[in-house]
Symmetry: C2
Subunit: 146 residues, 2 copies
DNA sequence: AGATAATAGTTCGCATGCGAAATATCTTGC
DNA sequence: GCAAGATATTTCGCATGCGAACTATTATCT
């Protein structure tokens, strides 16, 4: 198959990603949020008092990027940032009441967003997950060798 | 499977994308290029005198983004930008000699980059492609309905 | 304890990425 | 042939995204 095939596969990955983020962005913008801000709301609701580095790991983003995202959410009064007492280098992130309220308002929006994806046959869902893991494993291995 | 499963799948898409782009970035940086610049070199070599909008379509990017990328490559003397005679609104993009030379220098690098991906069994390659297309179709349909 | 390492976040410079507005040019309708 | 709309590209403001440099704090080693 060769180089052409590989580039085609990654083109498709790119497109799936973009399509998903565009959907998420459109949903989020109904609540004056960005796609990532919606995801962050979700993480913070499930993990109160999370630290920035932990949040960055869950988002699969670097610390510097995450810091910027959180910063904008703090400015928008959605998130509160506080120094921990145990380790005065670290910050804990928590949803404000406004952030909590906004999350609840997105319930219906999120449900509508994701429903169509469940149309994918269960067999395909499992296959997709398995192969993606293989691809990821290969890529990570390459990265370490390089 | 539900919301959790879907978000997990997109998390993996994200990671595969990132892993691929990091590999590509590392390879490109050996030649003082970015990942996208390497991809653009490829497209321009195969399609001389391509227009910006066509390039944007091939990259699956917006015109404004593509314009910026080309701009930086023109500044780096890799690409030449000229008005077409037929349509004085449009620009044609062509590799300079320096751009052409740089592309040739990346031959070995690119081959090493992509080889590991061919380890994926052919059955999986085909399955992956098929399911990705399904996912993409579902997402596009959602986008149009929304 | 005191020097040194490591760690948590922020900031900086740069490259994508998007949509909207602006500009220049072409096409269409009359 | 000319006004109105369509099209190609650029520019702008904003949000990600990365790695490197920086600050503040904690851990480690002797």
């Amino acid at each position: 198959m060769g180089e052409q095939w590989i580039l085609g596969i990654f083109q498709t990955y790119r497109e799936v990603n973009q399509a998903f983020f565009q959907l998420l962005s459109k949903a989020a913008s109904k609540h004056k949020l960005t796609a990532l801000q919606l995801i962050v709301l979700r993480v913070l609701r499930e993990h109160p008092e999370i630290r920035l580095t932990e949040l960055a790991e869950k988002l699969n983003l670097g610390n510097s990027t995450t810091s910027g995202i959180v910063d904008r959410m703090v400015k928008a009064s959605l998130v509160e940032r506080e120094r921990t007492k145990q380790d005065r280098r670290a910050m804990t992130l928590t949803l404000t009441d406004k952030g909590m309220e906004l999350w609840r308002e997105t319930d219906a929006t999120r449900l509508n967003l994701l429903r169509p994806l469940l149309d994918l046959p269960e067999d395909d869902q499992r296959e997709l997950e398995r192969i993606q893991q293989d691809v990821l494993r290969i890529l990570r291995q390459s990265r370490e060798e390089a």
